[in-house]
């Protein structure tokens, strides 16, 4: 794997920072996590810390060097994090459990998989444009989708911070999963909390991250957002990766496979075998049936026969 990665978290104008970020990688897989502890509940930062820690621990345990099923991994790790927070609060006999949003992204074989609960976001940016992003689990988002309010109204809506899914709440989290998303060379995956996306639009960030050095561009974005957030601005955090490989380059070249050493070929076989998309469900029987079907259609539609 080849990539550039950068993460940073800032306090903004708040008394403490309840955002947590983390990334870890093995030889064949990369995990990025961001969690935004919820201020309305006590000890939001604890919930965020537990979430990030649980995901990172799971990754260290299981990514040897890649994960058998990335989506299962994300689901399991996020659920474990949710229960770890509940355990923590019951051990401490807390009246109200601490809560946190969470978005996690896993990249393996140049394919990205992500999952989220709450309103921390993931943006996938390609050539200066946002090509995919998570949908916030917020009331405002729902209203927006129903067409009840406009984007402009959403930005100042009194309920804009209310979310209906998070880790640590007595109601289990709704975890939403992405599709398997192949990455192209130069793609940027940005995970960030509302402190950043709330004041700078995804489109704008995509433009400023296009071709830029993340190690400089992310701090700049955060500084700008901090200024815009003002003296009482929210915590703001980001983890961003620029992917330096492309799915197609890796996978579609017959020659590179042929010139590979024997043991390398074996390794690749394993990877593809675990990749469910390449398990073909087309058996010999089905091929025969498909041909039969096409032939009879030709028969049927051929005039003058």
């Amino acid at each position: 794997m080849r990539f550039t990665i950068y993460q940073e978290s800032r306090q903004g104008g708040r008394a403490n920072n309840e955002d947590r970020t983390s990334y870890c990688y093995s030889r064949d897989a990369l995990l990025m996590v961001i969690a935004d502890g919820m201020g309305g509940h006590h000890h939001g930062e604890i919930a965020a810390q537990i979430a990030v820690q649980t995901l990172a621990d799971s990754f260290q345990r299981e990514a040897k060097p890649s994960l058998a099923d990335p989506f299962r991994f994300l689901q399991k790790a996020m659920n474990n994090a949710h229960h770890a927070i509940l355990d923590y609060s019951s051990r401490r006999r807390m009246k109200d459990s601490p809560r946190t949003t969470c978005v996690a992204c896993l990249v393996q074989d140049n394919v990205a998989y992500w999952a989220h609960a709450g309103d921390s976001r993931l943006f996938l940016m390609r050539n200066g444009r946002v090509v995919a992003q998570t949908k916030d689990h917020s009331r405002v988002r729902l209203l927006l989708e129903e067409g009840m309010i406009t984007e402009a109204q959403a930005a100042v809506h009194p309920d804009r911070n209310k979310i209906f899914s998070c880790l640590g709440s007595p109601t289990p989290p709704e975890i939403e999963f992405s599709r398997k998303t192949p990455l192209a060379h130069g793609d940027v995956v940005l995970l960030c909390t509302d402190g950043l996306w709330g004041v700078t639009s995804g489109e704008l960030m995509a433009v400023s991250l296009k071709g830029a050095n993340l190690l400089q561009a992310i701090p700049m974005l955060l500084t700008q957002a901090e200024t815009k957030g003002g003296p009482h601005g929210d915590n703001l955090s980001a983890v961003a990766v620029r992917w330096e490989e492309a799915y197609v380059d890796e996978a579609s070249s017959a020659i590179s496979t042929q010139t590979m050493a024997l043991n390398e070929v074996t390794t690749r076989l394993e990877e593809f075998g675990r990749n469910p998309a390449y398990k073909s469900d087309l058996s010999d029987d089905e091929i025969e049936r498909a041909i039969e079907e096409i032939r009879s259609t030709i028969e049927k539609y051929t005039p003058n026969k």
Partner: protein, 315 residues
């Protein structure tokens, strides 16, 4: 990296009830042969053989498909079936007709009608810049009959271009090569690279492809008409999205063709798919409207051209 090309089956090779005459074309997904059937009739046979997944070396008949690629190879075969299924249902004089479909040599073959003729691409190259408006209207109006039939079967061609429009000896057009039509079905199969031809592919072909629709084929129709006038492909859509340097037909050929035709070309080539004709029918309707011959411009001076425009408007 240069990809090794697959070797075609040798001339004279028997294949089911056919005998291969020669190779007609070689693509990334398939090889097309000219062959003769038992009844002596000529046919075109398309062999499913994706370059990146199956390899036939010189002198071999069976392609080598590694265990690693077998899944993707079979998946692509599914797409080839989709193409066959779609074409089998289409019985239209302006769409290539499928005659047979069979399995051999560990892969599959589609047999199609073959007639003497040439592609529009060859025609453009031969008549570099001297194609009449009547010819363009005639060919495209009939070609659109075929495209309408395709769209009415909920299928997009997605690789329309002059080299995929075949002209019979009497100049009736036939749509060929529906190999890209599969892309509607498999947008997230990175193993099979999306197919498109720069210059003729619409802006929706690039990127997430979720906006592909009849209007995308219509962009390609516009680009093909543009190529008829220009003699070469227009600027590629992805380049145009960055910096559009395509001279509108309206300006480039002002006075040489009817304003209506030039307008239609620019209409089809709109980068925003919502501003293009939304259906083939709409485009066809525009194309068959009464032809007003271009008025000969006596004075080429730009000022006079404007004066002429105003005069026309006053009429």
């Amino acid at each position: 990296m240069a990809q090794q090309a697959n070797q075609a089956l040798p001339n004279g090779h028997p294949l089911e009830e056919y005998v291969i005459d020669r190779q007609l074309s070689l693509g990334g997904f398939s090889i097309v042969y000219l062959a003769k059937g038992a009844d002596g009739k000529q046919v075109a046979i398309k062999e499913y053989l994706p370059n990146s997944l199956a390899l036939r070396t010189d002198g071999q008949v069976m392609p080598i498909i590694s265990a690693e690629h077998l899944g993707a190879f079979r998946y692509g075969m599914k797409c080839f079936f989709e193409e066959g299924r779609a074409l089998a249902r289409l019985s239209h004089p302006n769409v290539i007709r499928v005659l047979n479909f069979f399995r051999a040599n560990e892969t599959v073959y589609m047999v199609m009608e073959y007639e003497h003729g040439r592609t529009l691409q060859e025609f453009i190259q031969k008549h570099q810049g001297h194609i009449s408006e009547r010819f363009i209207r005639g060919v495209f109006t009939r070609m659109l009959n075929g495209l309408r039939e395709v769209h009415s079967h909920k299928l997009l061609h997605l690789d329309l271009k002059p080299s995929n429009i075949y002209l019979r000896a009497d100049n009736t057009p036939v749509l060929i090569d529906f190999g890209a039509a599969r892309q509607t079905l498999s947008t997230d199969q990175p193993m099979l690279k999306p197919m498109y031809t720069p210059g003729f592919a619409s802006p929706e072909h690039y990127g997430s492809r979720k906006d592909l629709g009849p209007w995308s084929d219509i962009y390609s129709v516009g680009a093909s008409m543009y190529a008829c006038l220009a003699g070469s492909a227009p600027q590629a859509a992805d380049e145009r999205l960055k910096k559009d340097s395509l001279t509108p037909a309206m300006i480039r050929w002002d006075g040489q063709f009817s304003d209506r035709l030039l307008e239609i070309i620019d209409w089809c080539l709109n980068l925003n798919h919502l501003y293009r004709p939304q259906s083939v029918f709409a485009l066809q309707k525009a194309l068959v409207e009464t032809v007003t011959p271009p008025q000969s411009k006596s004075s080429p001076h730009w000022l006079n051209r404007f004066v002429d425009k105003f005069k026309k408007a006053e009429k």
